[in-house]
């Protein structure tokens, strides 16, 4: 499933407020050959999306300061330039299915992360 060391043209946008988790996730993805663009919260992600046209997938945390995952998703679908980029929610919150029910995302992965599943999803979209 994985494509260790293989180069991908597109980047994964990783939106996560916890520095340790963001770093670890980025390390895993980059080790699997997926370039990563990091954002600390929803507002940061929107800013970075404005300058990036090579994002194949957004990995989105829900509970974040400044702009949380729900608010980001709301802003994203309103902007035609980025509305079509698929989103996978990666969250540690309880009751994840209920939290993402109305978000229209392609998948939700609970923390602690099932990396095999996450990498399958990334491979599917990137």
């Amino acid at each position: 499933v994985t494509e260790s060391g293989g180069a991908h043209a597109h980047r994964v946008l990783l939106v996560e407020d916890d520095g340790d988790v963001r770093e670890a996730l980025a390390a895993v993805l980059e080790h699997e050959g997926y370039p990563v663009l990091e954002a600390q919260h929803g507002r940061d992600a929107l800013d970075k999306l404005r300058d990036a046209d090579d994002i194949c997938l957004i990995l989105l945390d829900l509970f974040m300061p400044t702009m949380n995952g729900w608010a980001f998703r709301e802003a994203q679908v309103k902007d035609p330039a980025i509305a079509d980029i698929p989103v996978v929610v990666v969250s540690a919150g309880a009751d994840l299915p209920r939290h993402v029910a109305k978000m229209g995302v392609v998948a939700a992965v609970a923390k602690p992360i099932d990396f095999d599943r996450l990498l399958r999803l990334v491979g599917q979209y990137c």
Partner: protein
């Protein structure tokens, strides 16, 4: 008495008068004409007397006429017999007709009275039905009370007051209505319930016993007897009460209060009908009021339950988030390590260790809180130097503060003060306050730690130049699961348990924690006050939760 007699003899007077008139006509006015029909005038007199007075006066007029004709005018032939016979027949007929007429009149009167009563009953029913609609229109307690007063005036009373019994058996006047707006200033004086500890006013008795009172005539003596003080008497006199009723508001066996009605301008006097109407109204009003009260209670209980439920949901989310986040970082790095990537090993191991420590701390806090809830949080008290515990906590926080660029200013000026304390728990208290201060203070901010002694107390002050605490949140700072930021957008981690645990631990040590903040952006100050150890507190002892029933 005289009028009754006059009424009784009047018909006989009429009989005599009509007889005299008939005689006069017969003698002077038309003697010629009446020669041929000599009894015509007496016949008419008999009919008039019978019509006005019935059989008795009619017979009198007949007798007088017959005697006069026989002996006065000397009529002895068959005409006299015919007059007597025809008059008697007419008399009987007229008597029968008269009785029938009187019966018919009486029946008419009765019908009128019945109609009046029916109308009154209808009005009463309509009033009560309107009242019911008005009283049940709102489930709002105060609105219902105001409605009640306005229903009574002007329909039943010129002035009305509603008083309710409140917690602690105090009575509060909640509504006053008055017909005459010009009397506003005076009426305003009746808006306060007069205190009546001796029970002089009949209302006090009504509220106590639930029995209604009807005062048909409010006499000056009565006013004086029920006045509670001079001013009260003056106001009551000036109001000019004529008649009054007081009825208790009783619902489901509980006296909620009383309604007092009085007449003034209308000068109407109350009777038992009015009292019955007011009692009926009071029953309905009391039920409506009680429903409003129950609704209000149910609403607030529901809101409280919803709040508690939301807090529980939020807490579960926070616990889940806080416990799983470090796990996610750990799992990620473990995967990288397993794949044999040697370059990132030091970074991976650092993060894994920090994550595991963080989780251990979270689990400790959760355990502490559940012990607190069960009243089983122990402290092992022994004499110890407070400064040492504080210093140990400072040492733990120092790297964190340095990494964040927050300056620590520590002044431990307690001169080796000794308190009865649990060393681990005292360190936990200081550490919790310090971690919070560092967490909420931005880079290049300052966290001050001061330890001093005064009046048998040691005082630990932790002050920061961080974001501060909104005034609205200050009272909730020490509550479990409460954090100033909403769960979904909070920027700082943690379970929101640290300060709740700190408060509990400080109280187990016989001390107190205070918080002060001048608001957002102004930093905050936490002050822990602990009693200094004396000879008798010195021996080691084990203290469990102070009061197990205390809600945490």
């Amino acid at each position: 008495m005289r009028s009754v007699e006059r009424r009784r003899f009047f018909p006989y007077g009429v009989a005599v008068a009509s007889f005299l008139l008939a005689t006069a006509v017969r003698l002077w006015i038309a003697p010629g004409l009446l020669e041929r029909i000599p009894f015509a005038t007496f016949f008419l007199a008999t009919i008039v007397a019978a019509w006005v007075g019935g059989a008795g006066p009619g017979a009198l007029a007949l007798g007088l006429g017959a005697l006069t004709a026989r002996f006065g005018f000397g009529v002895v032939d068959t005409r006299l017999t015919a007059f007597v016979v025809v008059s008697t027949v007419v008399l009987v007929l007229s008597h029968v007709m008269r009785n029938a007429r009187i019966h018919a009149e009486l029946a008419g009167l009765e019908e009128l009275e019945a109609r009046r009563l029916a109308e009154a009953a209808r009005e009463r029913a309509a009033f009560l039905s309107d009242a019911n609609i008005a009283l049940t229109a709102s489930l709002d307690y105060d609105a219902t009370l105001a409605t009640l007063a306005n229903l009574v005036v002007p329909q039943i009373a010129d002035w009305c007051a509603v008083d309710v019994v409140e917690a602690g058996d105090t009575i509060r006047r909640v509504a006053v209505a008055h017909r005459d707006l010009a009397k506003t200033a005076l009426v305003d004086a009746t808006r306060v319930y007069p205190s009546d500890p001796e029970g002089r006013h009949p209302r006090t008795d009504v509220i106590r016993t639930g029995r209604s009172r009807l005062i048909v005539d409010v006499t000056p003596e009565r006013l004086e007897a029920m006045a509670l003080h001079d001013e009260h008497l003056r106001v009551m006199r000036e109001m000019g009460y004529v008649s009054a009723m007081i009825v208790a508001l009783v619902a489901r066996g509980r006296t909620l209060g009383a309604i007092t009605c009085a007449t003034m301008e209308s000068a109407r006097r109350y009777g038992s009908d009015d009292l019955a109407l007011l009692e009926d109204l009071a029953r309905r009003a009391a039920l409506a009021l009680d429903n409003a009260r129950l609704y209000r209670e149910a609403e607030s209980a529901r809101a409280e339950a919803e709040r508690a439920n939301r807090a529980k949901d939020d807490f579960l989310s926070v616990v889940s988030h806080e416990l799983k986040t470090p796990l996610a970082a750990t799992m990620g790095w473990l995967r990288v390590l397993r794949s044999g990537n040697g370059d990132s090993q030091p970074r991976a191991l650092d993060t894994i260790e920090r994550s595991m420590r963080l989780q251990g701390k979270l689990i400790d806090d959760l355990l502490d809180v559940s012990r607190m809830a069960a009243g089983q949080l122990h402290v092992d008290l022994r004499p110890l130097v407070l400064a040492e515990a504080v210093e140990a906590a400072v040492d733990v926080v120092r790297p964190e503060a340095a990494a964040k660029g927050v300056r620590l200013e520590v002044v431990l000026d307690s001169g080796g003060a000794v308190v009865a304390g649990d060393p681990d728990r005292l360190q936990q208290i200081a550490w919790n306050l310090l971690v919070n201060a560092v967490k909420f203070t931005p880079a290049s901010g300052v966290v001050q730690v001061r330890l001093a002694c005064a009046d048998g107390h040691a005082e630990l002050v932790v002050h920061d130049t961080g974001r501060g605490i909104p005034a609205a949140f200050l009272p909730h700072v020490f509550e479990r699961f409460r954090q100033a930021e909403p769960v979904a957008t909070r920027g700082k981690g943690g379970l929101g348990l640290g300060l709740a645990i700190t408060l509990h631990l400080v109280e187990l040590h016989g001390g107190r924690v205070d918080v002060a903040s001048d608001g957002e952006g102004a930093g905050s100050t936490f002050t822990v006050t602990l009693p200094l150890a004396t000879a008798d507190t010195a021996p080691a002892r084990d203290v469990t939760s102070l009061d197990q029933r205390r809600p945490l």
